[in-house]
Symmetry: C2
Subunit: 425 residues, 2 copies
């Protein structure tokens, strides 16, 4: 069989892994790699010419597949668009460009009869996308929920194990190379939101517009929350979820309490773990490395091999390409979501405070499962509440009313509690 | 698109689930179902004619795909052979017939240009086969290890949680429908061996002959072993594993100790959990329902949809069919395997017994990590040993020598300890 000729945009960590793995696969010929800086020192020398001009790849009629591992929104978007226009198939690890421009890119690809494979864009080495798309073909997916960011999972694991505060754990993660110098995309949940946008497309047929995704990062999680969570039998994890909600989809990123005995609670360090809920299969969970040179490259090269070996099949894109509709997913109003909640409310310790909180919660249809008051100093107490399953809009109204009370210092934590089946309930 | 016409052999639990799920999929037309007893009462009536004569399906030129969910070696083998001879594609959930006759069936299928899809034959609803075959395409697999039998996992979980002995836990599993009236295939590890034979074919290219698989069931696991295992930080699980061992494959079924914090230890009840170790991805774990009507049918119908939608592609079997070679896998000598071990040795409590055991172990190059003696009665003590990583052949020689000693009552337990990376080491 003739070799399939491919070009690669980007030669960072993932690109290096791709070259290492491709070395063992004879059916694919890497013709050229485009980089931003030709002079940059690299761990590996490319087995082919390198150029600083990506058009040399995009315009090369011999190249059938473009591997895009440069990341970021631009210039990736323009290069992918140009490559698809030239009828090249795409293998990409770029979650940001897919999340922000998935509808237009997939529409263009469909019109040109080419495929976009993106296994590496979500959950690194875990073949989550092919599992949803092919492995669970017989299922209606009701939700996909999981730990989708290794950096924040590492930070939360450190905080829990060592009792460190957020800044100390972040600094350590940066020192070890698990977090970027600018950690915003990870710690504020943007990275998870991008991945959820793609998972929403796979599970429900439309990308979710990342700017509309209900998103909360981990910067406000405090060491004492791990202790209280533990006392009630939970760990704290940054969960992303996309769930069917009538004719809409609920997509959210939230630090959440996970029951200690649930396998998601035991996904530690830089791993990812995802629960897919399907109507026939029930709960399926996958755990593995969510990032890293070789795991992510494993997903890129897996796509590449699957794509390369299918190229000779006529109209194969219609078979292999997930059915993704134009336009954005309709997102459910955030307030409709039901869930149990963990709250930590810091108050001036006046007589009757618990009673007033109880009254406010009752007025807003919030049932309390557990409530514990702990004195902190003579005028300061922490009140820890675990609610029953409640509606988020009611919770917000209650907290708004609470915020007017003089006894309130702050609502220091308000996190949903994960329940099996992908529902925060 | 014209509907793909299929026939189904068998209408038990899985067949019922297939009909339920197929009801939601319009591209597939179920023409006829063959059963052993026409008069048997069923949970569901078939949406098509039923016959007691399977030749009506196998000989029907209109039927393109045969779904085989009857199970067992015969008459399944003859029917599958006849169907493949007639150039029908196969979707089967039958681990026993594949494990025992995989080489001949896949060889015949290749010669006739048809595909055999068998996702449902291993790990029920977990899309393990497609993950190994397609999701991890870029990887050299070094091992697949896991909990592959829900019945024994349920029994072991009960024994651990309730302190029950094996017979009580088995009786409860039978009462709840988790175990068959004749539980031999599950509790003696045959079922796991069949699944390992198929996983060996997927991961290493040849089926493992089930009669040569090193197999030990769970009947000799005692309640006190769970307690001792727990004291050292382990749970007991029935693990099946297939691992590369030089130019051979080590395939085995063993009750094993799993570190409590490893996710495999937390696969409870009737679930399955599998760790796949690949050179690029590292450790990937999947957990989900390993049996049951809808989960298993989810895998059958997933195969069916994938196969049906690919039928129009020319020569698609060469793309979709896993590359499985004729003949059986070369199995590594069992004694070569290295592992840490848990032992429980019951002895007449004479002075110097521990010293003699230590000497025998030392003579056979067995390093001991922990040793604990517990008095049981005035003349009876239990000696619990955790070894370092040792060679199984050395362990067997030491136990043979120990068996000649007058102080020995019995070696009540000798179980390998699972270590990450799929190695019992």
């Amino acid at each position: 069989m003739a070799k399939v000729v491919v070009g690669m945009l980007g030669f960072g960590t993932v690109g290096t892994g791709v070259i290492r793995i491709l070395d063992q696969h004879s059916g694919i010929s890497l013709k050229k790699v485009a980089v931003r800086e030709l002079s940059k020192k690299r761990a590996l020398s490319a087995p082919c010419p390198i150029t600083a001009n990506p058009s040399e790849l995009v315009d090369d009629p011999e190249i059938e597949i473009i591997i895009e591992v440069m990341g970021g929104e631009r210039p990736a978007l323009d290069l992918l668009t140009a490559a698809i226009e030239k009828r090249k198939h795409i293998v990409t690890a770029n979650k940001e460009v897919l999340a922000k421009h998935g509808p237009e890119l997939f529409k263009l690809a469909a019109s040109k009869g080419v495929a976009i494979f993106c296994e590496a864009s979500v959950a690194g080495g875990i073949p989550l996308i092919s599992t949803i798309h092919k492995g669970l073909e017989a299922n209606q997916i009701s939700s996909v929920t999981g730990i989708l960011n290794g950096t924040t999972n590492f930070i939360l694991s450190s905080m829990e194990e060592k009792g460190e505060d957020f800044n100390a754990a972040l600094a350590k993660a940066q020192e070890l190379g698990y977090a970027e110098a600018d950690p915003t995309a990870d710690i504020e949940g943007f990275d998870v939101a991008y991945k959820l946008s793609i998972l929403t497309a796979l599970a429900f047929g439309h990308f979710a517009n990342p700017k509309d995704i209900n998103r909360k990062g981990i910067t406000s999680v405090m060491p004492e929350d791990f202790k209280h969570a533990r006392d009630f039998g939970y760990r704290i994890k940054l969960l992303g979820s996309t769930s069917a909600a009538g004719d809409a989809v609920d997509v959210r990123v939230r630090p959440s309490l996970v029951p200690i005995l649930h396998p998601l609670a035991n996904v530690s360090g830089a791993n990812n773990g995802i629960v897919v809920d399907g109507d026939a299969v029930g709960e399926l969970m996958m755990v593995g490395p969510g990032a890293g040179e070789l795991p992510t490259a494993s997903a890129v090269v897996g796509d590449l091999i699957n794509l390369a070996s299918a190229l000779k099949l006529p109209d194969f894109a219609s078979y292999f390409q997930a059915a993704i509709e134009p336009g954005w997913a309709k997102l459910a109003p955030a307030g409709d979501r039901r869930s149990a909640y963990y709250l930590r409310i810091e108050v001036h310790d006046h007589p009757g405070v618990i009673g007033q909180i109880g009254t406010i919660f009752g007025d807003h249809h919030l049932s309390i499962r557990n409530i514990v008051q702990q004195g902190v100093s003579y005028d300061h107490a922490s009140i820890i509440i675990i609610t029953q399953d409640v509606k988020e809009a009611n919770m917000e109204e209650a907290l708004a009313e609470l915020s007017k009370k003089e006894f309130l210092k702050t609502v220091a934590a308000c996190m949903p509690i994960y329940a099996a089946g992908g529902k925060h309930a």
